[in-house]
């Protein structure tokens, strides 16, 4: 799964994030205080603005402290009842209708049908629930304010913060119920939608290899063939000499096979449903570095001219390698005799070579301290497929054992070698190694990947190779995917309710919708502001809306410089201000893309607790100031009234 920005680790993320949040919060408070003061001064200059401001400020803070859970609960329940009264359950019907007609559009014959199905159900849920919340939040408070029914609530001994929190909580409960229903319906839909099987014609199976003598003295021959095609794919079918059948992995899945015998002794094979498609792999990622063709450590590999610079490439039949350094590895984390390593690398050929097979590569393990390196196995690459290799804990089969030094260029230009001294030669002549004793040092080990064929290249990024620490339940992972949608929903509810405290219905609707859309395009906004929209261009290109408009009219591309006229200089100056504003907005808008966990679920990777915690804390980080801001806005209206 391509992960273009590093996933944050909660333990290292929390303190800097908290620091930034507190600073931002302080800044926001100061700004709000200043704006509030100004507002009071302007509107109530002759009517005791000081008292008004004091009442707003002190009363507002007291409200925040003296909050009542019981009243919040009651208001939340009221919100839930009203929402149900507004027939929010219709959205579930729309979702079900979508699922019913989804079969017209979802192609099970595609190369990754599970991704299509999962993206569809999660994507549809995402949009439906978020839009529902946009409408619900937009129509609730402003209509109360407009119809003045809000005063019936305000006259009760209810604090404004309790109204805000109650509404937020109420909407969260409604959204959670709807999401929960959708989650329960999605699972069987996906599983049923992907279910298929294949036929095997026993007569078409052919012998594979020479006859083998079995334990009971008889001889038998292994068989091979193909299953019948279903959904534009088929599997290689094998029966070993003992009569045990299996099918190969194809399109990310395989089928369990059962052997049946008829009354006249005829053997037939029945394939079950697909397995291996709906998974939740638990990856352990390492740190990636590169070695160039002369053996020198470099930050990045070669570019082969691919527009997407996610992957760097290493040259084949040279010393070039991709090096993943793993840390905190413990033997008990990997039950069994082997450690599974999975990879999904890119391939680039400068000449056709033998197109009947993939490019050969080799997997090596290295001790980072003493440089002991063994070449474990040679594999055939397969692009856009996850290749699973096993590193045995007891290494007996290896092509070579040697001492490999890392070479790095120091600041003064000299080459530094690591380790400086060669390993004990006796170590190189052993027939057997223990992975954790001989290669893992304080939990740290290096896994190297090399391309073996001259003129060919392997492309790799950090998440392209990982150690698979087992799998979690797909059902649970799907739940986490919905949790991601839930978090987006919570943030949007926060914005919707806050905006509704001082805007009318239509403006709240459009504004909340705007927050949602901007949040979905958050990464794009950041790229425009930082000039990282075209990462392949060396100098970041940062241009605002006016310059972009000028370029559109003049048909000038991003690579050409505009003529330096007065008009263009003015436009660029204005753009700097607009970009500043856009930067500010980008910092405020919630990163809805980052909160979404759909890709993890559809690609089949478990969502880690760390990531969930980071996202949850992020959501809380938005919600708290939103509630406070919303409380003060509503209080100001109350006080004004």
């Amino acid at each position: 799964m391509p992960i273009e920005t590093d996933l944050p680790e909660f333990s290292t993320w929390i303190l800097p994030a908290l620091e930034k949040w507190l600073l931002a919060g302080l800044g926001l408070l100061t700004l709000c205080g200043f704006v509030g003061l100004l507002w009071c001064l302007l509107l109530y200059r002759n009517h005791g603005w000081r008292r008004f401001f004091g009442d707003l400020l002190i009363g507002g803070f007291l409200d925040l402290i003296l909050i009542s859970g019981r009243r919040i609960g009651a208001l939340a329940w009221l919100t839930v009842k009203e929402a149900i009264g507004r027939r929010v359950t219709v959205v579930v019907l729309i979702f079900l209708l979508g699922l019913l007609f989804a079969g017209w559009f979802l192609d099970p014959a595609s190369t990754e049908p599970h991704r299509l199905y999962l993206n569809f159900v999660l994507g549809t849920t995402n949009y439906l629930v978020l839009l529902l919340m946009v409408f619900l939040t937009a129509f609730r408070l402003p209509s109360d304010i407009q119809n003045k029914t809000i005063y019936t609530v305000l006259t009760k001994p209810v604090r404004t913060v309790e109204i805000i929190v109650g509404q937020v909580l109420g909407f969260i409960v409604v959204g959670s119920l709807i999401l929960g229903l959708m989650w329960l319906v999605s699972y069987p839909f996906v599983v049923r939608g992907l279910h298929h099987t294949h036929q095997v014609n026993v007569e078409e199976l052919r012998p594979l290899g020479d006859p083998v003598k079995l334990a009971d003295g008889t001889t038998a021959t292994a068989l091979q063939g193909w299953t019948a095609p279903t959904w534009q794919h088929r599997h290689r079918f094998f029966v070993d000499a003992s009569g045990n059948p299996r099918v190969d992995m194809e399109r990310g899945h395989y089928h369990p096979v059962t052997v049946t015998r008829s009354s006249d002794g005829k053997v037939s094979y029945v394939l079950g449903g697909p397995e291996g498609q709906l998974v939740a792999r638990v990856p352990v990622y390492g740190r990636l570095s590169f070695r160039d063709r002369s053996g020198l450590d470099v930050e990045k590999g070669i570019s082969v001219g691919d527009e997407w610079i996610y992957r760097s490439y290493i040259e084949g039949a040279t010393e070039a390698a991709g090096i993943w350094t793993f840390e905190n590895l413990r033997p008990d984390a990997f039950p069994g005799d082997t450690i599974p390593v999975e990879m999904n690398i890119g391939v680039f050929r400068t000449h056709k070579g033998d197109i009947e097979r993939g490019i050969l590569g080799s997997l090596l393990v290295r001790n980072p301290e003493n440089g002991l390196t063994v070449e474990l196995q040679v594999f055939e690459s397969k692009e856009f497929n996850i290749l699973e290799l096993q590193i045995p804990k007891t290494i007996r089969k290896f092509s070579s054992a040697r001492f490999v030094q890392r070479k790095a260029k120091a600041a003064d230009g000299s080459i530094q070698y690591s380790p400086a001294k060669p390993v004990n030669p006796e170590l190189l002549s052993r027939a057997e190694y223990d992975l954790f004793k001989d290669f893992v040092v304080n939990g740290k080990v290096e896994i190297w990947l090399q391309c073996l064929e001259s003129g060919q290249y392997f492309g790799m990024a950090k998440p392209d190779l990982y150690i698979r620490a087992g799998s979690h339940s797909f059902f649970g992972n799907l739940f986490k995917g919905y949790l991601g949608i839930w978090m987006q929903m919570v943030v949007l509810i926060g914005f919707g309710v806050t905006l509704s405290t001082f805007l009318g219905t239509p403006v709240t609707l459009v504004s909340t919708l705007g927050v949602m859309i901007a949040g979905m395009a958050h990464k794009f906004m950041i790229q425009i502001v930082t000039g990282q929209l075209y990462p392949e261009v060396e100098t970041p290109w940062r241009a605002g809306p006016l310059e972009s408009l000028i370029r559109l009219i003049l048909q000038e591309g991003v690579m050409t410089d505009l003529p330096q006229t007065t008009g263009i200089a003015i436009a660029q100056a204005v753009d700097r201000v607009l970009l500043l504003w856009m930067d500010l907005v980008a910092q405020i808008i919630p990163p809805m893309e980052r909160l979404s966990l759909i890709d993890f679920v559809s690609y089949g990777y478990d969502v880690s607790l760390s990531l969930l915690t980071v996202n949850a804390v992020t959501v809380l980080g938005y919600l708290i100031p939103l509630v406070i801001v919303g409380h003060f806005f509503l209080r100001s209206r109350e006080v004004a009234a």
């Binding site: 595609s110 095609p229 794919h233 088929r234």
Partner: protein, 723 residues
């Protein structure tokens, strides 16, 4: 405003609304079809125009309720939605997210099912751009088929778009049949289990024939009046070309005999009788419609009229031609008189200019008729003849675009049993080579060359065509691999030498070499040996360069060219003899001389005798063994003398490896004589050779040693290293 005024205003508004509604109804009432014709309504003006022009949704293709629903759901922002989807598709393609790309394309076409460009562009995108992103050829093939299926989906909604059918035909035929992986693609296409569900349960057919069927369907639509959005000439040539390519493909894969002959006959028939006879727009206003087959007929008719002009004043044309001929320079005349395919590059340039000067129109002839009445007649005939020629020229121009003449002739030749037999022999020769049976491969290759000679004799015109020359050159170059394996050269009577010779004469290097040779001869005559040497070295360099383009010359494929090159070597030898120098160490044609020497019986026998002598001495160094070794070497000595007579330039070290071998022979003989206590006889055949060559070799070796003293000595090339 009073209430009365308000009322009147409302009435006016109502009247305007009624009038506008009426206009709207007249223009935009939808058609109301019904089983009962009396109840059916044709609808408003727009509905009737749509019906007439075939633009109603049901006439365009199948209806898609899902697509219509999605279009409605965009609330009028369909264009924006498509824009966003297109951007997303490009992003998914860039990030190699193929599942999302496919899904996005599906969404895109739901919104714009009748926009043909979307189907064509994205179909091409899938089959050509996305497929090559995969390393595994099986995945590439899968995506090629996806692109084809995508187009077929487009045809469902646009049943009267022949360009879509044509694109499907192109993808089936060209993408599968011409890709780098065509061998693998065709194999998968013809897989009887049909894992990609291409053939819909029917037995698999060749991809070229499947493509041809799609083109046929496209042509049927065009013939029924559907709009063709591309050039008709090229469009209609695709179908017969599929048959041509099919015929070539099956021969390449080993199908010959009646099947191949029938395939080529079908190709000829479809190309000439069907495509050639089809009415096509010419692209010229004065001759709007043409038929490609008519060119010869029109030219003949024009010739008949020209003959009639000639009869008005016999001999006038020849007289006028002779006048023009006199205006040519002698070189132009010689070039003009040389047959076109025998011209050198220089001659071709001169002949082009001469053609322009010699051009004589019918009108120009008619104007020179002395009798006024006959002149008027002649001018009328000339006008008609020129009109016919104009038409024929337009047809010729269109024919050139599709290479009509070549393909017509190609099919005519290929359907002949001799040609099929020649290709079969070529195929078998290649198979033998790949099975490491090089001897059989060579025999079959020579048989194939002889068969091709029969084909050329039956169809002499084909030997002048570039395509034939290129085809046969490729064939000859493949034979080189076989010769290489067997350490052999082309036989002296190789059947296709004239083809190679023709190719040689067209090379600019050959022309340049001949010019330098001529210049060197002049310099020799003027005793300017320095200039002669320089010219000869340039000429030899040009020959060397030419051999890089026509590699088979390195294995003596054309003896005539070899003679030209050896003539240059001999001239160079004579100049070196006069200036008292030897051939340079990196002499450009040393390898060629070496190859010739290696394939002489003399050098082969010399080597055998030397090996035998060594063997004798390995048995022991007693008098018997030494005498036997001496005998062996003495048998080799006259052969060495013969070799030096055949290649006298060896005396000036034209090929150092052969020279080193002969010196080796001399050295061993002297060693044996020394052992026996004897001296070299007076009539020793290698005396002069030794006296001339040994000092030079010794000097060169000491120079080499001196250069290599401070560093590690580079290994000198072994005398036994093959060319």
């Amino acid at each position: 405003m009073t209430s009365r005024q308000q009322f009147i205003r409302k009435i006016i508004y109502l009247v305007i609304m009624a009038v506008l509604l009426g206009v709207l109804a007249y223009l935009g009432t939808p058609a109301a079809p019904s089983r009962d014709p009396q109840k059916a309504s044709p609808g408003g003006v727009l509905a009737q125009v749509r019906e007439k022009e075939g633009l109603t949704p049901t006439q365009l293709g199948q209806l898609d309720p899902g697509g219509e629903a999605i279009k409605l759901a965009t609330l009028g922002m369909r264009g924006v939605a498509v824009h966003i989807l297109w951007m997303k598709a490009e992003d998914y393609k860039r990030r190699k997210d193929w599942s999302h790309l496919s899904a996005t394309l599906e969404q895109m076409v739901k919104l714009e099912p009748h926009f043909i460009t979307v189907w064509r562009h994205q179909g091409w995108n899938l089959s050509y751009n996305v497929s090559v992103e995969f390393d595994d050829y099986r995945e590439r093939f899968r995506w090629v088929i996806r692109g084809i299926n995508f187009l077929k989906e487009g045809i469902r909604y646009n049943e009267r778009e022949p360009i879509l059918y044509g694109d499907v035909g192109w993808f089936y035929s060209q993408k599968i049949g011409r890709a780098d992986e065509s061998k693998q693609f065709r194999r998968m296409f013809m897989d009887p289990t049909d894992p990609f569900d291409i053939h819909g349960g029917r037995p698999p057919r060749d991809n070229w024939l499947v493509g041809k069927d799609w083109y046929a369907e496209a042509e049927r639509l065009v013939d029924q009046g559907a709009i063709l959005r591309t050039t008709p000439l090229i469009f209609h040539s695709h179908r017969p070309m599929c048959q041509m390519n099919y015929s070539e493909a099956i021969e390449k894969e080993g199908t010959f005999g009646d099947a191949a002959i029938t395939a080529w006959q079908t190709a000829w028939h479809e190309f000439v009788n069907e495509f050639g006879h089809r009415e096509l727009p010419s692209g010229f206003d004065d001759v709007p419609i043409i038929r490609l087959y008519e060119q010869e007929t029109l030219y003949n008719q024009a010739q008949e009229l020209a003959q009639k002009i000639e009869e008005l004043e016999p001999g006038l044309r020849e007289k006028l031609l002779e006048e023009r001929r006199q205006e040519l320079t002698p070189e132009e005349r010689a070039a003009y008189d040389t047959p076109e395919y025998d011209r050198t590059v220089r001659q071709a340039e001169l002949a082009f200019g001469a053609d322009i000067k010699m051009k004589l129109t019918h009108e120009q002839v008619a104007r020179r008729i002395s009798d006024p009445k006959k002149r008027r007649q002649g001018l009328e005939l000339a006008r008609k003849a020129m009109a016919l020629e104009r038409q024929a020229n337009i047809i010729a121009h269109n024919r050139n675009i599709v290479n009509y003449d070549y393909w017509k002739r190609h099919a005519e030749v290929e359907e002949q049993p001799e040609a099929v037999a020649a290709r079969e022999l070529m195929y078998k020769s290649e198979q033998a080579y790949y099975n490491n049976d090089h001897v059989t491969a060579m025999e079959l290759f020579l048989a194939a060359a002889k068969k091709w000679r029969e084909v050329i004799e039956k169809n002499p015109d084909i030997q002048y065509e570039d395509h034939t020359i290129n085809d046969l050159t490729e064939f000859v170059d493949r034979y080189m691999k076989i010769l290489d394996q067997l350490d052999a050269v082309f036989p002296e009577d190789f059947a296709l030498q004239d083809i190679i010779r023709r190719r040689v004469r067209r090379r600019p290097e050959y022309q340049a070499a001949q010019d330098k040779l001529a210049s060197a001869q002049k310099a020799i005559a003027q005793k300017d040996l320095t200039a002669a040497r320089g010219d000869l070295e340039d000429a030899i360099k040009q020959y060397r360069g030419m051999m890089e383009f026509i590699k088979c010359l390195k294995l003596l494929a054309d003896r005539a060219t070899l003679s030209d090159m050896m003539a240059a070597v001999e001239a160079y030898d004579s100049v070196l003899a006069q200036v008292g120098d030897v051939f340079p160490r990196n002499f450009e044609l040393a390898e060629l001389i070496r190859l010739q020497c290696l394939h002489t019986s003399e050098l082969r026998t010399i080597k055998r005798h030397m090996t035998q002598a060594d063997y004798m001495l390995m048995q022991g160094t007693g008098p018997q063994q030494v005498a036997a070794a001496r005998q062996e070497l003495e048998q080799a000595l006259p052969l060495a003398a013969n070799l030096l007579k055949k290649f006298p330039h060896l005396m000036r070290l034209s090929d150092r490896r052969t020279v080193t071998e002969l010196l080796e022979l001399d050295l061993r003989y002297r060693q044996i004589l020394a052992k026996l206590g004897e001296t070299v006889p007076q009539d020793y055949p290698l005396q002069e050779f030794r006296q001339k060559v040994l000092p030079v070799i010794e000097k060169e070796m000491s120079e080499q040693e001196g250069q290599s003293q401070p560093q590690s000595t580079p290994s000198a090339p072994s005398p036994d290293k093959q060319a």
